[in-house]
Assembly symmetry: C2
Homo-oligomer: 360 residues x 2
DNA sequence: CTGTTAGCGCTTTCAC
DNA sequence: GTGAAAGCGCTAACAG
């Protein structure tokens, strides 16, 4: 690793001059010719600043700590991290990841590890949308929740608790949009296959479903609603729902639950997208690549949430900095909320139309 | 952040004494009473070392750089990172992640970012098993490939290229074990549903399939073999294979392809695990939680590869250090190769028996 | 046994 | 315009 000292020797100037020039603070201070020469030498020697040393002085590391729960078992971590990374890398930051669900070392231990490296701020990422408890050790850091909202009420009795910014899918709108899609396709007996595990998303998507029905003047019929978990029991519940209630459209809590509809349809000789319409939630790659006909589904914007969260975090760390979504390295598949949003920020998820809804 | 200086003041000793004690180098040098007092003060003040400062001095950051390709679109990143993190955290390391598939910033840029932070070594992770080209900028760092092997031949004509250690699934054995499972269940017409995309795993799993057939004295019949991609076309190929060839067992390249068998079975009124047996590869959570009957499948040990790779990397950085797999925070679902393995290390994946294979 | 000193690579104030 | 000097928090060689 070549240092400023070597450059200064080579260029016959002092280290401080080198520092000034390489940090572009030379305008009107250092003679242009000298500056140019220093830059040249730096380039020739392949100089790269030692960020540890810089951080020590500036106490500003440009490291963002990414703390995630349940990475082990869910497939969503990748896209969220990637989104955060893309934004970070764009603005000269880097991400240090730790997981908060190690059965042995506690969350506090992991946070502490990141603190010792002097991270400038934290992400707290959940793998399914929930109200998260922000550890008190993060109170003094810029912190953004990803796929979560702050579980600590804003108007709390414990007054010195900060209500942290968090970004999460607008679950109610997911239910509303998905159901509306079926309504607009002409479905009139629309079932909902929910999730029997307690999840924030479940109640909200169901609400959205009801709201869409109401708005369309369709009756809410609880016998068209079921909540299932996994594998056989789930499949049987869905099969029974379809066989006894004969819905013409089904809104499923997620793509996995839509699979039960596909399987049942195959068994009953029904054609998805013709005899029965289905809308899922997730647009998970695995289902997107596998199901036939392809499933119309509301995409959960994990990449986008990661991207937004990183932009938000950077803007909290450097309030004066101008950030711009339009320069994201990958296309954003959902409209990001403005960066000055605070508190619980909801993102409107896109419905991806494929072939599982009837076309009139 | 409380510093050693504050502790030294509080305890009435010099900073170097504090340093000695807090790094446990005080035995036989510092009076036990003084040492104890220093430790007490440190605890009272909640001292935590500034790792940046330490690194500056020791040029040893305890940061591992994790460089991954294709994180965007695959669900495997989480488990690999988690495995690496668990090992890292256990041995006092931390992981900095960057992705090498940003369409704009190049791999070199990302590596460079990690280098500037002084990472002690690199992971190079692929999302599907392949021969990876290790960037020349990593030649001088301890580097371990994850889910990949070094694409640069060991006996190369370019002599000063190092052949890096990489860990990857033993694909041939996957094909062999899966097929053997079907053979032992009594299947005699065993089909293979492969992947039509060029992938390292495809050829090797097919080889393992053939080898198992040969060993069992079953003929290889190319009309029982197909290679498919996604969605409709894949489903139709599988359906045709089943309808024309009537296999009694099917080894599928992965769980997703097994779904085509499930769908076809549902349509034809065949019962999986009775009329027809299926073995997949992946044990992907999404299929594990969804399919009914549950799919017997060879598990790809992403967590384990990440864990092994981190242990390997740490042992390269600190050769004298004693590492021990038995202390992993999560159960290891595959037997890890010994840590002194070099070059292309293959991991024997476990076949997870569920209910998609006939029981006699 | 413990303190002094120097220095890791960089930034920044203040003299010249 | 440029350099000298101090110091970020820590480690380590060397004195005492």
């Amino acid at each position: 690793m070549v240092t400023m000292k070597e450059i200064s020797a080579q260029a016959g100037v002092s280290v401080s001059t080198v520092s000034l020039v390489l940090n572009n603070r030379d305008k009107g201070r250092i003679k242009p010719r000298v500056a140019a020469q220093i830059r040249q030498v730096a380039r020739d020697l392949g100089y790269r600043p030692n960020l540890m040393a810089r951080s020590l002085k500036t106490s500003h590391t440009h490291i963002l700590g990414f703390l995630s729960k349940e990475v082990a078992t869910t497939p969503y971590a990748g896209p969220i991290i990637l989104g955060a990374q893309d934004a970070a890398s764009q603005y000269g930051y880097v991400i240090m990841t730790v997981s908060a669900d190690d059965p042995r070392s506690s969350e506090e231990t992991e946070i502490s590890a990141l603190e010792r490296y002097g991270v400038d701020g934290f992400f707290l990422a959940e793998m399914s949308n929930r109200k998260a408890q922000v550890p008190s050790s993060l109170q003094n850091y810029p912190t953004v929740l990803v796929n979560a909202t702050d579980g600590h009420p804003a108007s709390s009795t414990t007054p010195n608790q900060i209500h942290h910014t968090g970004i999460a899918p607008d679950e109610r709108l997911i239910g509303y949009d998905a159901t509306m899609r079926l309504i607009h396709a002409g479905c009139t007996r629309i079932a909902y296959v929910g999730c029997s595990e307690p999840m924030l998303a479940e109640g909200l998507r169901l609400e959205g479903y009801k709201e869409a029905l109401r708005e369309a003047g369709l009756p809410f019929d609880s016998s068209l609603v079921t909540a299932v978990l996994n594998n056989g029991p789930a499949l049987h519940s869905v099969r029974e729902l379809i066989e006894t209630q004969h819905p013409d459209g089904i809104f499923c809590f997620n793509d996995a639950r839509a699979w039960y509809v596909y399987d049942t349809a195959a068994r009953l000789g029904l054609t998805i997208g013709k005899d029965i319409s289905v809308v899922g939630v997730d647009n998970h790659r695995i289902f997107a690549e596998t199901l036939e006909p392809q499933l119309s589904t509301v995409e959960l914007p994990h990449y986008e949430m990661g991207y937004w969260a990183a932009c938000k975090l950077i803007s909290m760390i450097e309030p004066e900095r101008e950030l711009d979504f339009s320069t994201s390295p990958r296309p954003l598949r959902a409209t990001l909320p403005p960066l000055d949003s605070e508190g619980d920020v909801l993102i409107h998820c896109s419905l991806v139309d494929k072939n599982s809804v009837i076309t009139q």
